[in-house]
Structure formats: structure tokens, C-alpha cells
């Protein structure tokens, strides 16, 4: 384990009851890297992120962040340690306004610097008083990312961020992820291979709970290379 490893997953095995989902997963992400996990539906990508976040207990293996084990810690403790999870479902607190959603993020982290949020997503500025339930899918994703980056997390776990979004929003998110990587390490689960190849420093290809390949060389990270593992 290198000292600059923000996340190290070693020998991780996870089961849902009798059904084993992840088999001996090894993964690491260094400071400032964008690490992508690609794979078909059911490959275990979301399970991996949920286990890192503390929502699932592994049957074996370790998950550490800067040398500190995350296993056995509640999700809110992991979040307080600077690991933020942006789930796939794009569900925000629909009865609260955008402003109130951001305030929830701010209060938890004591970070009220919303300029960085509105710099990445200027559109949120106009939507502050709108109920989050009335936002479009893209706007919700902006809000979820904006809320998660409050407190300057050291590690962002992002689950299928571009699923169902318009190409223009995907392009915007691509730029945002690139910029965010200068401050945080990102682990992104994504099926959009052009996006992955444009931003990822390292790619893990998962299939049926196994890591089939680790592409750590930028030259290797191409859609056609990734596709053969899917």
C-alpha cells in the first residue's frame, strides 16, 4: 500500500445472503486519480461502491482509506471521514428546495462555500428556490454532485453519473470530473466508455464479480480495449 493511496481494496468478497457477488476484488486509487469501474449490469460495480461506503459488510478482505480501515464503520462515519457516495438513482430530497438540499450538505461538513458548486454548475444558481423534486435528471445530478463536493471530500464514489442524461450534460460532467480530480480522488462506475476513456487514469473491468482487467496505462484506455471485457 503506497502512502498516497486514497483508497485500497484488497481481497474483497461480498455476498447477499447465500449469493456471492464480489470475488477477491483488488483495487486502489491514488491521490488525484480518476479510477473507473466498467462492466455489464450485474457485474458488481454498485455493490463494490456500497461496500466501500459501509452499506454492506464484506465476508472477507479489507477496504482502507489513507491507511485507515473503513470496514465495520457506519456509512455516516465513512462520509464524515471524507468519502462521499453519489448514488445512481438521482433521488434528491424532493420536498426540499435546491438551497435546502445544499444546506444539508453544508451543515454536515460545515462548508458553506457554495461558490465552488455554482462555478461547476452555474445553472443551480437560478434554481435555488425550486423544489428538488421538480428538477430534470441532469439538474438533479448537478445538485447531487454539488452537494457531495461540499466539505472537499478526499474521495468521491460516483455511480453511473451519466445514465439517462443528454449529451450536452454528459459533456459538462466530463469537464467537471476532470476539474474535481485536482482536489479529490474519483472512483466512477460507468458504462459510457467514451467518457471513461476521456477522463480515467485507471480502469477496472468487472465481470460477474471478478476483476477481469486493470488498465493503468493511458495508452491502453480506449473504448475498443475496454469493450472486449464487457
Amino acid at each position: 500500500m503506497k502512502s498516497d493511496d486514497i483508497l485500497t481494496v484488497a481481497g474483497l468478497n461480498v455476498s447477499y445472503g447465500e449469493s456471492k457477488v464480489l470475488f477477491n476484488i483488488n483495487l486502489n486509487a491514488s491521490s488525484g486519480q480518476i479510477v473507473a469501474c466498467v462492466g455489464r449490469n450485474g457485474a458488481g460495480k454498485t455493490t463494490l461502491l456500497k461496500t466501500i461506503m459501509g452499506f454492506l459488510k464484506p465476508t472477507a478482505g479489507t477496504v482502507t482509506s489513507n491507511g485507515t480501515s473503513l470496514i465495520g464503520r457506519a456509512a455516516y462515519v465513512v462520509a464524515a471521514m471524507g468519502v462521499k457516495y453519489i448514488p445512481q438513482d438521482k433521488k434528491v430530497f424532493s420536498d426540499l428546495t435546491v438551497r435546502e438540499n445544499l444546506e444539508l450538505g453544508s451543515y454536515a461538513t460545515r462548508d458553506y462555500d457554495w461558490d465552488k458548486v455554482t462555478t461547476y454548475f452555474p445553472k443551480l444558481k437560478q434554481l435555488m428556490d425550486r423544489k428538488a423534486g421538480y428538477l430534470s435528471g441532469g439538474e438533479r445530478q448537478m445538485l447531487m454532485i454539488g452537494r457531495a463536493i461540499l466539505g472537499n471530500p478526499k474521495l468521491l464514489l460516483v455511480d453511473e453519473p451519466t445514465e439517462g442524461l443528454a449529451p450536452s450534460i454528459v459533456a459538462q460532467l466530463k469537464d467537471v470530473f476532470r476539474e474535481l480530480s485536482s482536489k479529490s480522488t474519483l472512483v466512477i462506475v460507468e458504462q459510457n466508455l467514451p467518457l471513461v476513456c476521456a477522463i480515467a487514469d485507471k480502469v477496472y473491468a468487472l465481470n460477474e464479480g471478478h476483476v477481469m482487467a486493470e488498465l493503468a496505462d493511458r495508452e491502453q484506455i480506449k473504448p475498443e480495449t475496454c469493450e472486449q471485457y464487457l
Binding site: 456509512a75 462520509a79 457516495y85 433521488k91 426540499l96 444539508l104
Partner: protein, 331 residues
């Protein structure tokens, strides 16, 4: 959260209640005040945190009996009696809360119902030696007259109950506007999301449980002082749905809902029952209608209409368009 609209509507609602006092019989007005406090706690649990509890009479009884024990056995000051009732509610909800709030919605409802049944039988049978069982504890004549507001006088009790209801309402309005209120709503909408943000949702739920049930105990204390009598009937299994019915009637999750619901429910119970024996039947039909009409309750349905009317009335009138004479161009 914004607290700019802190006073919006607050005075209006309570001035209306004060006006009602002029037109309604005193016992009816007093009961509305107490029921409002009772329902506000239930409304917070149900509308803000997503907990449906069939055990609210348990906490009502804890407050009432806390007050009654003090006034029957130890002292004569009703204010101290109320304070003891509140403390009793706080202690009991803090004792059972850590266990109960771990349960999810349906089991939470049932475990609270079980507590109400336990307290009912404790007061009726097990502790009959000190509670006097079904005969109850009578202490109306034991209470001292108090300075400023004499709680032994129904008309002065109304002012006290009015001020308490006002303060409780304002307190919950403050909570609703606070970040804690948003957290409570967050646990109701999507608890996992709050955890992702770093919130300990268990603590949020526990605090909400203690606040709501201490409020319920306060209502119980007020009942005890007002009636000067407490019996196990207060936590009877037949009455467990009362606060939920009032909350749903008024409008779940709305700030004025508990007050409107208390007026509607008490109105039907006290006034309608004089002309129509089976008033519960009307409540039943009304509840079915409310559910089918979108679960908004009376206030939830009225509020948007009133808001639109108020906006229309207060909107500045646009200046009339300048008249132009035929054939003359405006400059």
C-alpha cells in the same frame, strides 16, 4: 433554512382561535387547545419524520399521571404538576426511544400500541393501589389557585392553554424552518441519502421521538389540570387512533393541520354528537373521503385556495392602459 417568514400566518391562525372562543362554549375551546398540542406532536412524527404511532395515548397518559401523582400525593401547585408531567414524558420517551426508533414504520406503530396497552393495564390493574384503577385520581379540589393565571378557573385555563398551544406551535415552526427540520424530512424521504452526507440518522429520529412525545406528555398534563381528574381511560386502546385521525383530518405535515384537525374532530365529537348520536360514523366517512381525495386533509386542501385568493387580493393592480383617442397616435 430561511426564517424570514417566521411570523407569517402565525398570528392569523391563533387570532381566529381566540375569536372562536367568543362564539364557542368554553369547554369546547379548552379541548381544542389541548387537542392541538396533542396533535402537533403526532403530526411532527407522522408528517416530518415518517413515523406512524398508535401509541400516542401512552405518552399522553405518562404526562397526565405524572401531573396527577404530584397533585394527588405530594403538592398542590398545578404549574409544578405540569412541569413534572413534562419531565415524566421526557424520561419515558428517552427510555423507550433508543429501542423503538430502531424499528421501521409498521413495527414502530405496533410497538407503540403495545406500550399504550401496557400503560393502560398498569394504571388500571397492576398499580391500582396508587392509581385507584378505573375510579381514577381526583384532585380538582386539591389544586391551589395560582397567581396571574389561575389554572383552576376554566376561563383563565383557556388563556394558559392558548399561550401554551401558541408556544408549542411556534417551537415546531422553528424546527420546521431549521436544518434539523430538513434532516427530519430527509430521514422520511430517503434516509440513506442523509447517511451519505454524514448524518447519524438514528440520532435524528431519536431526538424527534423525544421532542414529539414530550409534547404529547405536555398535552396530557394539560388534560389532567383541566379536568382535575385522570383515569386509565386516557390511554384506552379504543382511543389510540385519535391523534392520527386528527392529524390526517387536518392535513399531515402541515403546520396548521393539527389545529384545524383538532377543531374539526372536537367539533364533531362535542357539537355534532348532540344532534347526531353516531358521530364517529361521520368521522369515518370523512376520513375515507380525505384519503380518496388525495390525502391532503382539510388544511392541505384549503391552503392552496387561500394562498391563491390572498395573492390575488394583495397583488398590486396594474395601471390602466392610457386611453388613446381614435385617430390619435400615442407619443
Amino acid at each position: 433554512m430561511s426564517v424570514l417568514k417566521w411570523w407569517s400566518g402565525l398570528l392569523v391562525a391563533f387570532l381566529l382561535l381566540a375569536l372562536l372562543r367568543v362564539f364557542l362554549p368554553l369547554p369546547f375551546a379548552n379541548e381544542i387547545m389541548i387537542f392541538s398540542v396533542y396533535a402537533i406532536g403526532c403530526n411532527f412524527l407522522l408528517g416530518r419524520v415518517g413515523f406512524i404511532s398508535f401509541g400516542q395515548p401512552a405518552y399522553l397518559a405518562v404526562g397526565a399521571y405524572g401531573t396527577a401523582f404530584y397533585l394527588f400525593y405530594f403538592g398542590t401547585n398545578p404549574y409544578i404538576g405540569i412541569l413534572i408531567g413534562i419531565i415524566s414524558g421526557f424520561v419515558v420517551s428517552l427510555a423507550v426511544g433508543p429501542l423503538f426508533v430502531r424499528l421501521r414504520s409498521d413495527y414502530f406503530a405496533l410497538v407503540n400500541l403495545a406500550l399504550a396497552v401496557i400503560i393502560f393495564f398498569l394504571m388500571q390493574k397492576v398499580l391500582a393501589g396508587i392509581t385507584h384503577g378505573d375510579d381514577g385520581l381526583w384532585f380538582l379540589t386539591r389544586m391551589d389557585s395560582t397567581p396571574v393565571l389561575d389554572l383552576t378557573q376554566p376561563d383563565q385555563f383557556f388563556i394558559f392553554a392558548f399561550l401554551i398551544a401558541f408556544a408549542v406551535w411556534a417551537f415546531y415552526k422553528y424546527i420546521d424552518d431549521s436544518i434539523y427540520g430538513a434532516c427530519c424530512l430527509g430521514t422520511k424521504i430517503n434516509e440513506d441519502k442523509l447517511k451519505f452526507l454524514g448524518y447519524n440518522t438514528y440520532n435524528i429520529r431519536l431526538l424527534a421521538f423525544v421532542i414529539a412525545n414530550t409534547t404529547t406528555a405536555l398535552a396530557g398534563s394539560m388534560y389532567a389540570i383541566y379536568l382535575g381528574f385522570v383515569s386509565p381511560e386516557i390511554t384506552s386502546p379504543a382511543r389510540v387512533a385519535d391523534p392520527i385521525v386528527v392529524t390526517i383530518l387536518g392535513g399531515v405535515g402541515t403546520l396548521y393541520g393539527p389545529i384545524v384537525g383538532a377543531i374539526a374532530y372536537t367539533g364533531m365529537k362535542d357539537l355534532l354528537s348532540q344532534v347526531f348520536g353516531n358521530w364517529e360514523l361521520i368521522v369515518g366517512f370523512l376520513l375515507v373521503f380525505i384519503m380518496l381525495a388525495g390525502e391532503k386533509g382539510i388544511w392541505g386542501t384549503l391552503a392552496p385556495v387561500l394562498e391563491r385568493t390572498f395573492t390575488r387580493l394583495t397583488a398590486p393592480r396594474s395601471a390602466p392602459a392610457p386611453r388613446t383617442e381614435p385617430g390619435v397616435k400615442g407619443t
